[in-house]
């Protein structure tokens, strides 16, 4: 069956080349004001993941390892 549409004729541009996606919006002062408040989002994400990891570790330790008894 013969293709009815030749997509090689289209010109594709990566979204990373569109200024509205990657260029600085606003001026440098505005950006500095945002950064000055610290990486709160990163801390929240890292805090949540580490808290989950720690909770799972304690869950296994308390609910599985301890009830299985000591060995030596």
């Amino acid at each position: 069956m013969t293709p009815t549409y030749d997509d090689r004729k289209e010109t594709y541009v990566s979204a990373a080349f569109h200024p509205e996606n990657v260029a600085l919006q606003g001026d440098e002062d505005e950006v500095q004001k945002i950064v000055a408040s610290g990486p709160r989002g990163a801390l929240a994400l890292a805090g949540l993941t580490v808290a989950l990891l720690l909770a799972l570790w304690f869950a296994f330790f308390i609910l599985v390892y301890l009830p299985r008894g000591a060995i030596g």
Binding site: V35, F58, I71
Partner: protein, 186 residues
Amino acid sequence: MAETVNASSSDAVDFSERRWALVVAGVVALVFAVIIFASVHWAAQPPSNVETIDASSLHLSGEFMEANLGTAVQPDGSAVVRVIAQQYSFVPSCIVVPTDTPVVFRMTSPDVIHGLLIAGTNINSMVVPGFVAEVRTRFDKPGEHLMPCHEYCSVGHEGMWARVKVVDRREFARDYGGQQRASCVR
């Protein structure tokens, strides 16, 4: 203006990173503290007995002769369980131990590497020919545990398993007390 804001944003990032480093150090310290406390409180440690034995003459003389296999109650009331792990069975294949009693498992192999694992407990050790694996534990409640070989030992590996029957210590004394080397093999 831009320079002062730059300095404060840099300070904010430095502060966050230092604070996060402290949090991570605290988490690591907490986990280590819990492990150390449990190990010291329980005297728990990975089985690390290094004791050699002649694998070629196990059946002829010494501790692992057939008549010596099974559970032996010691004068101090503790129990020693001697087991041979071989392609493709454990001898004895049904092990009986009393509750609330210090139990020592001593196991060795005449052929290849096998595994000692008692399901539902923390007992987990390799059984290496030429060495005696030793694990100390204590069972709090009666029950039955599967004891599969968990080191691939060749084509019959999947059929190599035994049972560990934990019985109340009074029941053990009544039913098995008369046996020099107790087992629940019928």
